[in-house]
Amino acid sequence: MKKFLNSLVLLLAGWKAAAISRFPRPDFESGYQYPEYTYAVPNEMLWDIIDVAMLLILMGIVTWALYKKRTRGPILWSSVVSVAYFGFFRGGCVCSVGSIQNVALAFVDNSYSLPLAVFLFFMIPILGAFLFGRVFCSGVCPLGALQDLVNVKNYRINKAVAGALSVIPWIYLAFALLYALTRTRFIICQFDPFIGIFRLGGDIGMIAFGVILLVMSVFTGRPFCRFLCPYGALLSIFSSVSVFKIGITPKPCINCELCHNSCPVDAIEAPYGNKVNESNRTGVKRLLAYMLIIPVLMAAGGLLMRQAAPQLARANREVRLYSQVMYFEDHPDGEMIPEVEAFYSQGRTLEDLISSYEEVHKDFRLYGTLAGMLIGLVIGVKLVRLSLKRGRKQYEIAHSRCVACGKCFSYCPQNRVKAKVN
């Protein structure tokens, strides 16, 4: 009888209203007890504390090795620990590079509260860069450390090519901020080339890209850090004006060029032997012209990105859903894809979707314009920096590019001399 009833209800049951209890809770006569299940939540709190402590300890070790000991040994060990712990053991999440997006999201999304550990992972390396330079990049960031550990040979990349490529991190940063601020997705995490390697599995395309980058970093130092990493771009602002600065040697430079050859990221600049003979006035004029170009570049970038906003917005879930639903409304006989099915089963109205679609488009226009202006500004500043007159008399570290790996220390003959030099 019960079976019959059940099948009757089964026939009547529709597809909608899944939460409705179609069958009453049985009243057991045999004294049956409901089984109890508990589902564990790992103690993230503890891991967060360990992560932040590891970050601080490793940054401390690197700073100590750079400023007190002037040796690369501890930095190398710090790199090994970082790759082993942050990389392979913790699976690479959350890392400072990705935390940019969490911070950006927290500013626009009030329902998202920034976890304290993520905040610390974002701020500590920036603070470190402002005080001591890019000590985080050196041997604490698992992405940089992994590339550093496989680096064998340093083939120099053409200066013009390297200069052009160094704009990419900024563009990447602008896009990452754009997609985080519009609540679309975290592209830095999605296109992280090394996470698949750390987790020994993942998207095959990204793993292949990561392997290519690693093979490249055997022959030239840190291609990811120099030409892709958006967090490195952010840190380079602070490291270029840092309070304490790393020096190759405390003793006078003898202009031997050895440190220049040892630097894997081409961050040691040669003495400038005023090759171009031009009057002071021409230089100033050119500089002024470039300064005037900056607003033009910013406006152009902003306009361009504003024009591209509808295309960029297609990565957003709501915008995609809108076009899918619209397509289905036009072709009601076609197959219903899961997104459209979910849209109708959730009982959302078309007006609701259209308003959120327009909201997203508005966001994309605003933040797209700002991102374009940022890209224009960066390109302008790069041009200005190229034409700045430098009065270098000896080999100097370009602190914005220096990743504080400490390789130049052992190359400098002045560091080898035990006797006191006057």
Partner: protein
């Protein structure tokens, strides 16, 4: 020209030094401003971490959880809320809709991995349990249960398996937008505790 040079010599500090000091101050202020602004967004309660979780009310069992997770076997598993279950013999999450005979032969089962086990309790009730080692989060049983039953079977991200990626690759492809970040208190969205 000579006059210019004298002026520079008389100035309290060289121009380059002046620029350096100014930029240092700006950068310092920038660190403080950035840190301060971001710090206001931090909420210092126990929900220090956020977890990815599926809202079972929104989930439409499109089956992408099974294949889109970065784990070799998805961190999404089926969870059974016994207190919601009707303990039916003819279970929509156990048998296929077109099952020829109601027995435990594999061709009649909805679960492709045989992860649902059932135990006779008393006439006419059967208890269903999920073998979580076999479950791969495909959601076929969930679809059956929510279509023809009480919806006591539902998909959840197992927090002990989840790597807690900063960007969840299932959430990106989730058809219904059911996967969101949740605080510690609601790390699981259970059906029988509501």
């Amino acid at each position: 020209m000579k006059k210019d040079k004298e002026q520079i010599d008389n100035s309290p500090m060289p121009r380059r030094e002046f620029f350096r000091k100014i930029s240092k101050a700006i950068a310092g202020a920038g660190v403080l401003a950035l840190g301060g602004a971001a710090a206001t967004k931090v909420k210092g309660n126990k929900s220090a971490s956020l977890y990815w979780q599926i809202d079972p009310e929104k989930c439409t069992q499109c089956g992408r959880c099974e294949t889109s997770c970065v784990m070799p076997v998805s961190a999404v598993r089926c969870i059974h809320a016994n207190k919601v279950c009707g303990y039916c013999d003819l279970c929509g999450g156990y048998y296929r809709t077109n099952a020829k005979e109601l027995n435990t032969a594999a061709e009649n089962m909805i679960c492709p991995t045989g992860a649902i086990q059932r135990k006779f309790v008393e006439d006419p009730y059967f208890e269903y349990t999920i073998d979580e080692d076999l479950c791969n989060g495909c959601g076929k049983c969930v679809k059956g249960c929510s279509s023809f039953g009480n919806g006591s079977l539902f998909l959840q991200i197992r927090q002990d398996l989840c790597l807690n990626c900063n960007e969840c690759s299932i959430a990106n492809v989730c058809a219904s937008g059911a996967i969101t970040r949740v605080p510690y208190e609601t790390a699981y969205k259970m059906k029988d505790q509501a």
